[in-house]
Amino acid sequence: MSETDLSVPFRRRAGSALGDKHLQEALTIATTKFIGLRRDAFDEFPEGERLRDLAREIKEATLQHLDRYVEQLIDSVERLGGHVHYATTPEEARRVVLDIAARTGARMAVKSKSMASEEIHLNEALEAAGVIPIETDLGEYIIQLAHERPSHIIAPAIHKTKGQVADLFAKELKRQVAADPEELTRIARVELRQKFLEADLGITGANFAVADTGTVVLVTNEGNGRMVTSLPRVHVAIMGVEKVVPSMTDLMVFLQILAKSATGQKLSVYTTLVRGPRRPGELEGPDEFHLVLLDNGRIRQIAGPLREALYCLRCGACLNVCPVYRQIGGHAYGYTYPGPIGILLTAMLEGPGSVKDLAHASSLCGACVDACPVRIDIPKMLVELRREIDEARIAPWTERLAYGLMEKVLASPTLYRWSKPLARLLQRPFARDGRIRSVPLAFTEWTRTRDLPALAPQTFHERWPTLK
């Protein structure tokens, strides 16, 4: 599967995305649509704001006693005849799944959309072990055909136009295909139907798991999740350990705001509640049910600076409203989770050093906080990451020198006063009619596309005596 080349600096990756016409078209259409749908959904739902506060409180309280709820969840799932595995690292999580596949003689796995499985790079591991993974979510199916990775948390193929999808299908099927979404969906459905019947293993993520009932909850729109959990002999659900919720009552709070935030739907088309394997007398469901709980840096952050990022429901609302994501899309970020929340999750999973450039991929406009169903203060944590990066002294020395100098000037009225005549002298060759159209050094990046105002002939400080 093709990966974003992380040896290319982030700014250049973003630059290529800006120049990609198809990407720009696809992003503008999709994010604008999502923003409108979300806004309408909450406008028609007066209790939404209160439920968002309540959801946030539930997340806070659950994390406070996560150990207790995880133990309760394990008990509940085991009582239903399921198995629970705890994986500290992605390697451990992959190993668990591969062992299950080997023991049950699985040759093909159908998958419902799961970011956790992306996070642990499960498909590559399955392929290497001789198990064919088949993505059954339409968006995931598209990008699997294209050998790409998801560029959005809930709309993995958001970066593709319908024309590009038609071309992709035509190449795969070796025949003409119309760029008509309904026709494309029909083709995928026919292709996938046989796979559902053939597969031995069904792999899903989980939007929630309810501690006191052992219910694993999948929120989907295409019905593929239900096929994946009911047709194959074995079902494995992989879930970040923070996604446990205490009770069904709590679950109802989240379900009422999740789909509205994601797609503007009141509820998603399917809300699948899975309780263990098939029981005697039941007609469908797997022989075996496994739940893999994934830590991968999460537990450490319960008491860490990124704690709030653990509230995330993976709805993707912050991506849709982020002015940076809307321009560059998900692949430029370079990791499993894109967008503003993705920067925080990347820092959580890969360490703060991995986001030394990404931490600055935000104008701190705060649109993400307003859109987030649980009001995660993403800008605050981005600034916190920038502080960590500063303290670890991994920013370039020129930058640290410039900010050191800035502090000296701003902390001293005398230096501040004298910096102005100096600046006026320095700008003289560049300033015309009060504006600078091109200037070397730090602001050259500014003046490529924008005029820079020249330092005023008299600053306000200098004018104040005449105003007294």
């Binding site: 600055h360 104008s363 307003d370 500063d390 701003l410 730090a442 005023a456 104040w464």
Partner: protein
């Protein structure tokens, strides 16, 4: 408080604020020791430096009854970040006091002075850009609109996507200039589509960004700070 960008690049905004407030009967002082609120350091992660700048600013304004800032993001910095930055220092109590006394200009006019009717210094259509920190930081979208809607001689037309960022973001605009500029392109297309003669904002950063883009395109639309627009006579 006239913070760094306003002081150096838009001194006429400070002059307008002074005249406006005096006309409303407010005694205006400008403590000369002030420089910048420290936000550029803070947002880039240089918190030790930002703390020193904040401590100085708190000291400089310790005698002020109200502090009025014609910049939403600087007001946000003082109101929301200062108390946390100075939490473990002797300046803590003063920082909390200052946070409680500091107002962005439109909020001060509408919510403290209760003045909402002014005469416009320019006539015709104007449109308004919501600055991110004023809108989502200080949760203020009403005060500027009340002032603009009541303006004699000017007509407010809403800006499509007016609540979306202009792409400035301080250091963001030079760290990722291509992304910043493309966000700005969209903003300018929206501004020009309104047919307004000027775009009004309450933040020097946004005005620098939007003004820079409009200037480069030789657009007829003028970037204007709210204070400059209100500098006509009070009714």
């Amino acid at each position: 408080m006239v913070t760094c960008l306003g002081d150096m690049f838009f001194p006429e905004v400070g002059v307008s604020v002074t005249r406006l407030l005096r006309r409303l009967g407010v005694t205006v002082d400008f403590p000369l020791g002030q420089t910048c609120c420290g936000q550029p350091l803070f947002n880039s992660g240089y918190h030790a430096g930002a703390t020193r700048v904040a401590a100085r600013t708190v000291e400089v304004f310790r005698d002020a009854e109200h502090v009025v800032v014609p910049s939403g993001s600087c007001a946000y910095m003082v109101r929301h970040e200062y108390p946390a930055l100075l939490r473990d220092t002797p300046a803590r109590a003063e920082a909390e006091r200052l946070a409680g006394q500091t107002y962005e200009l439109s909020q001060f006019l509408v919510r403290v002075l209760g003045k909402t009717r002014f005469k416009a210094s320019v006539s015709g259509r104007v449109t308004y850009h919501d600055s991110c920190h004023l809108l989502r930081g200080l949760h203020e979208s009403e005060a500027p609109r009340i002032l603009l809607k009541n303006l004699e001689g000017a007509e407010l037309v809403e800006l499509p996507g007016g609540d979306e960022c202009c792409g400035f973001g301080g250091s963001f605009s030079v760290r990722l200039p291509e992304v910043s500029s493309q966000i700005l392109d969209k903003k300018i297309r929206n501004i020009e589509a309104t047919g307004a003669a000027c775009v009004v904002a309450c933040d020097s950063g946004c005005l620098m960004q939007m003004g820079g883009g409009l200037g480069r395109r030789r657009s007829k639309v003028r970037p204007l700070h709210l204070a400059e627009l209100l500098a006509g006579d009070e009714r």
